[in-house]
Subunit: 169 residues, 3 copies
């Protein structure tokens, strides 16, 4: 492992640098999972600004054929939609579990997993599973956090759903 | 980055200290999530002692207007309650996902997310979602682990539910 | 903390080694959770090879009295089973949350938690919870990843279900 020019101080410095890189991988995964969890919070409370801030300006949101949205305006549309506003405060978008894989350059990552949407009646009764799907997120590093650059979701039973899970398999 | 009095050994020592602090943040979050997951285990198996041990002595458990419990005695009451004992061994309290935020002093943290309760009939049939809510936990460091100092949960549809999710948004 | 023979360089090297061990614990837990999440992906897409690769050659899969499977052949059987093939692409096996505990030797670990299975009709309608259980996984280190050596699952309401959760309590 050590060449003729190595010395203990240099070796220790290299060890610390390698350890710092490993810690960064764990921190990146934590931050990515925070972004995906906060996406749920943003739509559950109906906050279009908070939701849009989680996406890149040129994001693509692909919820199936005929249900594609682009950019932060698209992200906002999904929250401001009448059908969504009707369930604000009585819905729960819970995402996960995920397999997160970072790209070689360290500034892009993919998260593959599941999304569930629950709703209750407005009198707090009758909690139920409303939708469940397979999902893949592509994220890019953005300063201290990450933003969603591409999101694809498919309900269980969709023809092209299994392909999403295969991204993380 | 380096001033006139710095030397490589001091710099490396400072780097290691900073890295140790980052690792501690990750370890704290792991331990907090373990406590919240083990809360589910404790109530599912109906172990009032194990449940109470997860709370601080002066904890406040706020499950909505008229449903507030205080201290480890209160935590115990929730487990020993007849309605809860009736579902022991056939219920699942699954918590998460959470956004965990540490306070500046490093000894307090907030976990914001979701709680779901499932039950099955005693013959193992008819598994179903029984309750789902938004939840916020305040935790304090306690030796090698963390304890719950304040817990608030609201069912989907409650007037003050969205405010809980905003803590983590 | 420092004996008569210690010097700053040796102390720093020891500190880095201890930190590396702490990081490895976090990395191991991450990898174990990836394996358990990818188990869900493998069975949801109906990939018997990918599923079998997650288990040790002599694995034991104990799903209850009269429902025990052994080895990678057993793991494969569960995926290739007609009843399972009937729901491929319209089911979701979501595992967690888990409490992960490593054995003292660092090469074995236990993950205790929950497993849920959802299905939808093949036209993507009627998403529903199909099964929910308590589960315990024993895993062993295998090169850069971990494999499942023993898996026990019980539906809510089973006589011996609570014993599984107690492993992680």
């Amino acid at each position: 492992m050590t060449g003729p020019t190595s010395n203990p101080a240099d070796e220790l410095a290299a060890e610390v640098a390698a350890l710092a890189a490993r810690v960064r991988v764990l921190e990146d995964e934590r931050e990515i999972l925070r972004v995906l969890t906060r996406y749920g919070f943003a739509v559950d409370v109906g906050d279009a600004d908070a939701c849009a801030a989680l996406y890149t300006d040129d994001t693509v949101i692909d919820l199936g054929p005929g249900s594609e949205f682009a950019g932060t305006a698209g992200a906002r549309t999904l929250v401001e939609d009448d059908r969504h506003q009707a369930i604000v405060g009585r819905c729960a978008h819970t995402l996960g579990p995920f397999v997160v894989d970072a790209a070689v350059d360290g500034d892009r990552a993919t998260a593959t997993g599941y999304v569930r949407v629950y709703v209750s009646d407005s009198d707090q009764r009758n909690p139920r599973l409303w939708r469940i799907g397979y999902t893949t997120f592509e994220l890019v590093r953005s300063g201290p956090t990450w933003r969603i650059a591409h999101r694809r979701s498919r309900s269980l039973g969709a023809d092209d759903g299994a392909a999403l899970l295969r991204v993380g398999l």
